[in-house]
Subunit: 344 residues, 2 copies
């Protein structure tokens, strides 16, 4: 089955998905009867190309990686804005992978709204629009008979949302707790080993785990957005980021962490959502947890999420929460799930 795609954003994550689509071309056809074709790419830095007959994926990747520009690619339409690319392309599915913004979720929010209203499926790893507007966007998708995939917004390619939605069928999720940010977990893991916060942060930057401005991570905005997404997606609620009790890790010293260890405890930045009589309450803050608990044994950049349900003891999922291949893979799982459902 032919499956037309448009990339809105073609940076690290978009290229990662494009690389997987290229590498797994035969597998996608044989296992899932899917033959994806890229009919448009629009990236604010690389430029924009559109061809309803399909663009050459290896060439796109080559130009993006080697030349840092798509301008050398010949195509019937070039230079369209991202919104015009969505409006005028023949895509069945739009891949929204522009930068994340937790203030007003733009430009991703407008991209996703425009695509859904036009009757395009959307897959995204962009946290902003999903953390801020999931209910609206899901309503738009349902109303237009299309699907919205956002597995990559939490735990990257580790399929936390699909585990909750597709695997824990018939179970009611009563609590979610997790380590949802690898950068801060790396810093805390280092600080336990007698490294200062500043040194650990520098090392995290050097390794590519932390950004130049680490605020989103160390002030817990990123994991706060993720617990909002998980709760809203899996616990049938409509939390806002401001509803979450949030505290970052900048107030912690290595002495705090080493003292905890001596008491058989570890400090972890724990994101939590719990169903109460009055709805779902969420927090994301440093907690001292017993060494024997699962989350205390999550080290470095690994992420973990633990689901409590009404049907059995807790189920935990552990895996990478970042990495370019992992982010592209999350989008691929959504894309396959949507492609499969289109054939039915």
């Amino acid at each position: 089955m032919s499956f037309k795609l448009a990339f809105i954003g073609f940076g690290r994550v978009g290229q990662s998905l494009a690389g997987l689509l290229n590498r797994k071309r035969n597998e996608l056809k044989e296992r899932y009867d899917l033959e994806p074709t890229v009919v448009g790419v629009s990236d604010i830095q690389l430029g924009s190309v559109m061809d309803p007959e399909g663009l050459d994926l290896p060439r796109l990747l080559q130009h993006a990686r080697r030349e840092g520009s798509l301008r050398g690619i010949s195509a019937p339409e070039k230079g369209l804005s991202s919104l015009d690319t969505i409006r005028r392309s023949s895509a069945d599915l739009v891949i929204e992978v522009t930068w994340s913004n937790l203030a007003d979720a733009e430009p991703g929010l407008s991209h996703i709204r425009t695509a859904l209203k036009k009757g395009c499926h959307v897959v995204t790893s962009n946290k902003g629009p999903i953390a801020l507007k999931l209910r609206e966007l899901q309503g738009l998708a349902d109303g237009n008979g299309v699907q919205l995939g956002f597995e990559g917004t939490v735990l990257s390619g580790t399929p936390a949302i699909r585990l909750g939605r597709e695997a824990l069928l018939g179970g009611e999720i009563l609590s979610i707790e997790g380590i949802l940010n690898g950068t801060t977990n790396y810093i805390l893991s280092e600080m336990e080993r007698d490294v200062s916060y500043e040194e650990a942060l520098e090392e995290a930057k050097r390794l590519g785990y932390a950004e130049a401005d680490p605020t989103a991570d160390v002030e817990a905005w990123d994991p706060t957005a993720k617990i909002v997404i998980l709760a809203n997606a899996l616990m049938d609620c409509d939390l806002r980021i401001g509803d979450v009790e949030r505290e970052g890790i900048t107030g912690l010293s290595k002495d705090d962490l080493m003292k905890a260890i001596k008491q058989d405890r570890r400090v972890r930045l724990v994101a939590r959502a719990v169903r109460t009589r009055d709805g779902v309450r969420a927090s994301c803050k440093p907690e001292e947890i017993p060494l024997t608990s699962l989350l205390a044994n999550i080290h470095g950049v690994t992420n973990a999420v633990v689901f409590g349900t009404d049907v059995q003891d807790e189920v935990a999922l552990i895996g990478p929460g970042a990495g370019p291949q992992s982010a592209g893979y999350a989008l691929l799982t959504d894309l396959i799930a949507i492609g499969r459902s289109m054939k039915r």
Copy 2:
């Protein structure tokens, strides 16, 4: 949507599913548009009842639990054998939850074959038929346009198979390793704390974790069957139980375990399947693993499985591997998945 079910076996696991179906009646209708009706039950101890108009679920449970017999229930047809119940019932789906047998998989194998050939979907938690004959049974299901659910054969209600099949879409599973037997993991966890094998086994029996004859667990037959099921279901191979390098825990002393701890290692009964150039190689035997590894931090009756794929770092799933509610829940997830697909 009406959905007719027949229970073949109505012991602890079957009753657990029946209890969940009863308790979640409204939720199943509202969330999944499923209205399950039980049209037949056949159990070698409790007896057999069949009614195409539907049997009263609370009454079935009450008779099974309080009177240890279904003979007091009035129904149009009574006393049929399990095979005749399958042949003559109007069920859309057969729930096969008789006892497990890894030698010839009977009587479960005949039950499942008969149901699939008749065009009934099947869900089962019975390891024997799936460990011995998955390929044949899957072929029968495909050939008859029905589905075979067996989530409950490994990790009980912790959805390992669905994680591999439905969540890790488009990823190729290259390795599976896990702690797939709670009884032996409990015994090993105790032995590390200076408890002898015999004492730990007795305690496991007292707590209901181990059976009177513990051979299937302590000689590793049970986790061996489970790694065969996982590998065959998720790695596209056709392993037999005899292909697995198997070793139980009866040769271990508490000194072995405590000596390992002193070297920052733990002994765990690890089941493993790895894709090699010549196919999939599997083992299930005690291994000394570093304290820092995920499996070394799985204690007591908890189970864990770690998937290695071609697309990202390892993904681990941890949760209960047993328990009556958990076993019933595994069957419920299969039942919902099949019910949803019938509506499409």
